[in-house]
């Protein structure tokens, strides 16, 4: 097999788009390379040109504006996301997700943008982005556009970007008052493992902090794409924010999940875990919505 490919590191989005378009299907964006370089080495993906995005200033920028929300450049490493004070304050589920990808060395390189574009059903940053209402900003030969992250992945390893298009940034809306979010995953090992099941939850409470005004739930590793548990989330609206409601939401999430059995977990185990992880993620989101901290 031929593992050789060219390498370019443009410093503008326009130049990157041009290289990607000219390179056709053999050209691939390179962010942290923690998925791509491994996949190329094992012949899982092919490329004849890697377009390194890390030298484009916009892609490495993080900007939080209290009126506008968060703009997270597509090539910002997970470690920087997990350490960023504004992200820690306002988007805790994203900190949960970005903070458990790989180990400390992987997180210095791996990006949230790469996690999304790799489009793995088990990508730990994707369910948090979905429940936080993130939009993906895409640049391409025909200009730029935004799509909700919830519709970005279309199959295992597949996303909706066309030839010549790339992810520029993720946009997260300002957090609403009395809201909280949380992402949890189940893995046999504490570190350096891939989710058997993961669940992200976002909750917004009413003024009394006792009832749920709005909710979103997204799951990893239980379907060909990161999955929105719409029925469970909608059911929660207007219900008391308590463990009974969360248990029922967990049951409804189980009905939505379409897991397979594989080396990481059997089908019944995954289904069981969907209930457990959904419930716990909701509990975490509730505590944060009330202003409590839940990290160790």
């Amino acid at each position: 097999m031929n593992f050789s490919y060219g390498y370019r590191a443009p410093d503008t989005i326009a130049e990157a788009v041009r290289l990607l378009q000219e390179g056709g299907s053999g050209a691939r964006p390179l962010a942290g390379g923690t998925d791509l370089l491994v996949q190329l080495r094992h012949g899982i993906r092919q490329a004849d040109l890697l377009v390194d995005l890390k030298r484009i200033p916009e892609l490495s920028a993080v900007r939080y504006d209290p009126a506008d929300g968060l703009t997270l450049g597509a090539a910002v490493p997970c470690a920087d996301v997990a350490d960023h004070p504004d992200i820690r304050a306002h988007y805790p589920a994203l900190v949960d997700g970005a903070g458990i990808i790989g180990g400390s060395a992987i997180r210095q390189r791996a990006t949230v943008g790469g996690n999304l574009c790799n489009a793995s059903p088990s990508g730990d940053a994707i369910p948090p982005l979905i429940v936080l209402g993130a939009e993906a900003e895409i640049a391409g030969p025909n200009g730029s556009c935004r799509v909700p992250v919830s519709s970005f992945c279309v199959g295992p390893g597949l996303h909706l970007l066309d030839q010549g298009e790339m992810l520029v940034a993720l946009h997260l809306p300002i957090p609403s008052p009395r809201s909280g979010s949380c992402y949890l995953r189940f893995t046999p090992r504490g570190e350096m493992d891939i989710a058997v099941v993961g669940a992200a939850a976002w909750l917004q409470l009413d003024e009394s902090l006792s009832y749920i005004e709005d909710a979103r739930i997204a799951l990893s590793a239980v379907a060909p794409v990161p999955l929105v548990a719409e029925t469970a989330a909608t059911w929660l609206i207007g219900r008391p924010a308590d463990s009974e409601s969360f248990a029922q939401a967990g049951r409804l999430a189980q009905e939505t999940a379409r897991p397979i059995g594989d080396v990481r977990g059997t089908l019944p185990q995954r289904l069981h875990l969907v209930g457990v992880m959904t419930r716990r993620a909701l509990q975490g989101a509730l505590r944060r919505a009330k202003g409590e901290t839940i990290d160790g």
Partner: protein
Amino acid sequence: MADKVHVTTLLNGESVEFLCAPSQTLLECLRDILGLTGAKNGCNDGNCGACSVLLDGRLANSCLVLGAEADGRTVITIEGLADWAGLHPIQQSFVEEDGLQCGCCTPGMIIAAKALLDREPNPSDGRIREWMAGNLCRCTGYETITRAVRRAAAHLNGEGAEG
């Protein structure tokens, strides 16, 4: 075959230039072009940490970095730690605490420990273990490694090493 890339990097404090294939990893460049064999190829997949280096001060698995990506960056490998005065305090602590047996994981362990202690001078044992989770060791059982990092922290903080 794609054209070779010309790379200029500040390697262990010295400006170094080399030519590599665009698909060659930084690990391959260090070992096969530059003759620095301290960083090891354990898994070539990002899983073991034996290839750890500091890239612009950040911990990185050099098997998952292209040599071309090092252009204009600073790289520190295990070879850059000791100086004329002797071993680096982290290396010294690994010797004193028996933090190694076969030594295969050791360069990566020490680089990872340096990355941690450079940013957090006083990590707890739990934090050390969590930070080093991407560095695998088949020999020691990790206890002496954790102790070595703790001892190194004490050294670097100017406390007399205990025990």
